[in-house]
Symmetry: C2
Subunit: 288 residues, 2 copies
């Protein structure tokens, strides 16, 4: 497995592969990898001749009061996981390689990035779109892989790819969960043992929502009231939002249909966690 730190070297390797007619799958990550990331690598491995993973904690997608400085990092462990999952090349640049001191260009979108997480993280998706545009222009992959856990991010990237005519297929991969239901996240490492238990309220609320959908509920207010009730049972949980939005536009809907998104952000102590389900997808199951 190659480890490359510069855009020039990366581009050179990609061009060799393209010249040989090989397809390339790209899995962008911020590192501190878990089985959720591994599922992206596996999907990319089975769908492409070459698999590139990026490990880059992207500074421009963090707000001034967010966890950029403390975001967990373990590049050695990341490399072990990536190699075990058949990744051919890891791109691991320094922030200075990605952003010149006078960096001034951003990819941004309105509407989709203003609801849900965008309300409390106003510059987040601008940072995500910008770094993904840079990676797309450098790697020119045939396919790019994202987890459904960051459902709004996935919808935004799909829109960006469509609007700016990036020639790439965007593939969303299902949320990977711990046995007890908690969605895998690098940020789970922030949780104390007590908070780790409390964090189960997210997946339980998701499951509650899925049960209601299965029982025929299609009214957002009714669904959200029950899910919020479930969340309120956990004293350590501080709900940022629970919403039902159109699966493409990310705008709130009064009644929902298959493909729409039910998403939440909840603070457990100081740790902000997200979870979601898409209406019509199979119900999650867990031991609890």
């Amino acid at each position: 497995m190659q480890v490359i730190n510069t855009i020039d070297e990366l581009r050179k390797q990609i061009k060799e592969w393209k010249k040989a007619g090989l397809t390339v799958g790209l899995c962008p990550t911020m590192g501190y990898l878990h089985e959720g990331h591994a599922s992206l690598m596996d999907a990319a491995r089975s769908g492409n001749d070459k698999v590139v993973a990026s490990v880059f904690v992207n500074p421009i997608q963090f707000g001034p009061n967010e966890d950029l400085a403390t975001y967990p990092r373990d590049f050695e462990h990341d490399c072990q996981l990536l190699e075990a999952h058949g990744v051919d090349l890891v791109f691991h640049p320094e922030p200075s390689e990605m952003y010149a001191p006078d960096f001034t260009t951003f990819v941004d979108m309105n509407e989709l990035s203003e609801t849900l997480c965008g309300k409390t993280r106003p510059i987040h998706f601008r940072g995500v779109c910008t770094v993904i545009a840079k990676l797309l222009n450098t790697v020119t992959p045939d396919r790019i892989y994202f987890g459904q856990k960051d459902a709004q991010q996935l919808a935004i990237i799909r829109r960006m790819v469509r609007d700016l005519n990036f020639d790439v297929e965007v593939i969303g991969c299902p949320i990977v969960r711990e046995q007890d239901g908690l969605a895998k996240s690098s940020r789970n490492t922030y949780l104390s043992p007590e908070e780790r238990k409390a964090a189960l309220v997210l997946s339980r609320s998701v499951r509650k929502g899925q049960d209601l959908v299965a029982s025929g509920v299609r009214n957002s207010a009714e669904l959200l009231a029950s899910m919020k009730e479930r969340l309120a049972e956990e004293p350590l949980a501080d709900v940022e939002y629970v919403e039902v939005v159109d699966g493409e536009s990310m705008q709130p809907v009064e009644t929902f249909k298959d493909g729409d998104l039910v998403a939440m952000a909840v603070r457990i102590g100081t740790t902000r966690l997200i979870d979601n389900f898409t209406v019509g997808d199979p119900a999650i199951s867990f031991d609890a």
Copy 2:
């Protein structure tokens, strides 16, 4: 010469060329072509195996009170000129082909797009960056050509290409002028005979500025005072700005050096014209 109206067809042709190892030069235009555009085609013709020109009056770079509806169009004449200059493919999409009704993604930059023309045209460069990003992603050219007349646009595109890692060489081509000095522009067609004469005050002011630089002036205030004095001699001229800015950052400078930009926008009647020179470039000459 091929004329293509859709992104899919364009991409298909480009892929065939790339597969055959051919290089591609792209000249983006808004049509109503003149010798200035032709010089871009000639440069692209001599530097690439295949030359693509786009003819597209890009709605998102016009403000609500600007001349989108009246912008001059003559596609038949454009095709004659393009064919005569050896263009292989003209991309001529409808606005609906470029912008879905729920188009939401924009490429934008601060600083460079906020000075000069950006002061009175706040969304203009966002529209330019966005359409050029779309064309770059569709045509994936080896080289892209712009005129120096739109000097701020050229600096902004250079910055966008650097910041977002587009794999393309940006080539700026010198301003082409009428015999009497007026910089060629599709908007010159708006001028009445009397205004056409008055419009010469721009190139004369440019020449005045170049003479002062040649005489050793390096102080922006001194240079601008003389150039404004020259512009004030023309009663039909309404000066929007004359400024000296850093050639890369587009920020005003107190003293200037080679590579810095002296740029102006002046209204002659209702027609807004621009002109400029780069410090260190050869002085312009004209019959007058």
